[in-house]
Amino acid sequence: MTIVSAIDKLTPREREILLLVAERLGDKEIAQQLNLSPRTVQNHLHRAYEKLGVSDRQQAARLLSNSYSGQSSPLSPAPLLPSEQGVLAGSDRVEDGKTPWPVPFYGGYLRLGRWRRPRRIGGSVLLLILGGALAWILLAAAAVSLIPPVLEMIQGLR
């Protein structure tokens, strides 16, 4: 079995988890990001190891990485198997059978790294929300405070 055919057997979720493994995320972090239980993440990982014929996460991630960066022949687009379209593990639906649309600026998305998903600060995204709200309020306050002098200036010009 070639590397390519082994990787094509991976489900989208297994690939997603391996990509996060390659970013040096632990099981708990991956579980948090994907809204899965750590046990489900481990199950996906073990299934991926079996399919790739490797014994640990580093080997699996390296294999996947090499297949993307060093293949001379392109990977064939993997059609979703019926089993991949439904529930893979636990109660989480892995994919909904939708083919992704063309995504402009996908390179920018990739460059976000771990920030592709909002990071929890103190175990919650509330600080991010409050920070965002504060930024908008400051912007709005600045805009409102600028209105009277701008109006005066316009009237002065008339």
Partner: protein, 162 residues
Amino acid sequence: MSPLQLALQFALLAFSLIGLSLLLWRGRTWDRAAAGVVLMALTLSYAIDNTGQDGFEFGVILIDAAAFIALWLIAERAGRWWIVMTAALHLVSSLVYVAPFLTSTSLAWAAMTLIWVLWLLTSLTFFFGVWEIEAARRFAFGGRYGSTLDDGGGPRAAPSME
């Protein structure tokens, strides 16, 4: 409300509804839940607004606050930036109604403009959400679907991991 304001309001509403429809169509469970919350808040705000009763703004504040809490709880689980941003904008729009310096008569028009700008930003966030959903979906596929202008969309467009 002048005809121009009315036209602008309808244009904004149509823009929002297109964004929300795309989210409901392309999104996953939590995206759809968040879009549903926003849609419900929008509908209820309009319904209360149209009753013309005194103190309707209190109802709008209540709806926005409830929507904010729902969006926050969804954002905790969804792991999407668009939901975080929408929750933040909802919080700001709730605060605009209660900010005393904005509700004073001299700056009432500024408050109204601000609410419309916030609405426009929220609508833009919906389209950002669609982009985020599709990018995440493509990422889950290992970058093998969806050609793009910047990387060609082939296997080499897949995320580099080293």
